[in-house]
Symmetry: C2
Subunit: 149 residues, 2 copies
DNA sequence: TGAATTGTCACTGTGATCGTTACACACCAT
DNA sequence: ATGGTGTGTAACGATCACAGTGACAATTCA
């Protein structure tokens, strides 16, 4: 299945904003750090903005900013903002309704798949962008806040 | 990061074998119930066979059979057998190593993503094909075992 | 022997992701 | 105000995995 790297790249961008000293970060700089293109970053920032996680400052010296403290942005919020496909894909074509199995398999499976998805999301809800930024700083052996450069 | 429809279809096929009375099920019949093609089913059965979950009987009157009791086949086993892609996709191109964030983001993220994946898999490990078959029977208002047809 | 069924290959169509180019619009500095 | 800077979005193409189809050798039962 074609998998999306949007979630990881979005967390990357948000962590960069959290690590920075509050100065706006240009999409071009975020793209360089994540090794992708500025348009891809802007597409992600558009989704994050709609979700209320980031804001943008236009014009010279502008860029992307966190819309709220990094400690209040959960990874689950990022996940919900940038991922649109369901975790589990059901049958592409609906199964045979007349069949004893085909007519009931999706309903039998739904609570299980919902539970698995909820368990995964609960883990993502326990971690914030601030946590990730702190771990990045620890691994990189530098202190927060960091001047951008 | 979504799964393919293979997982759901594979569970569908295994549940059909569990619901049946132990008679081999042809790939063509499984395909009809799941509203897909027999070749797709055979591809899944090939993976399930390699994982030791099913067996096949060639020739006339042949078909697919469970290789062990349905109560001992966990959904996690099915998931592992038929899904190739990782739950979370990392950066398509490695992030900029020289950057404070790019050089550490993947390592900072790994424990979180591993935890989320483990939480989801733990839920899938709690349910067996026998559970699904029982739920299918309950929803379809029929008793197990069921004669095939 | 002959029919039936699996197992696997090659080819095709479809959809999503991702990269690139392009351009209108908004904002800041001078 | 004016030009440079940066965002926001659309269009296009390349790539990849998934899924569907047809075909065929190999195997096994009737």
């Amino acid at each position: 299945m074609p998998t999306s790297s949007r979630f990881v790249v979005a967390v990357h961008a948000l962590a960069a904003m959290a690590v920075g000293d509050g100065a706006p970060l240009r999409s071009e700089d975020l793209a360089a750090s994540a090794n992708t293109s500025a348009v891809v970053i802007r597409g992600l920032l558009s989704r994050l903005h709609q979700a209320g996680l980031t804001g943008s400052q236009l014009g010279a010296g502008g860029g992307a900013l966190l819309a709220k403290p990094a400690a209040r942005i959960r990874l689950l919020d990022v996940y919900a903002a940038v991922e649109d496909t369901a975790l589990f894909t059901l049958h592409r074509m609906p199964p045979l309704g007349g069949c004893a199995v085909g007519g009931n398999i999706q309903e039998a499976l739904r609570p299980v798949l919902d539970g698995a998805r909820a368990a995964m999301e609960a883990e993502l809800a326990r971690v914030t962008i601030a946590d990730i930024a702190a771990d990045v700083a620890r691994l990189g052996k530098f202190a927060l806040p960091l001047r951008r450069g």
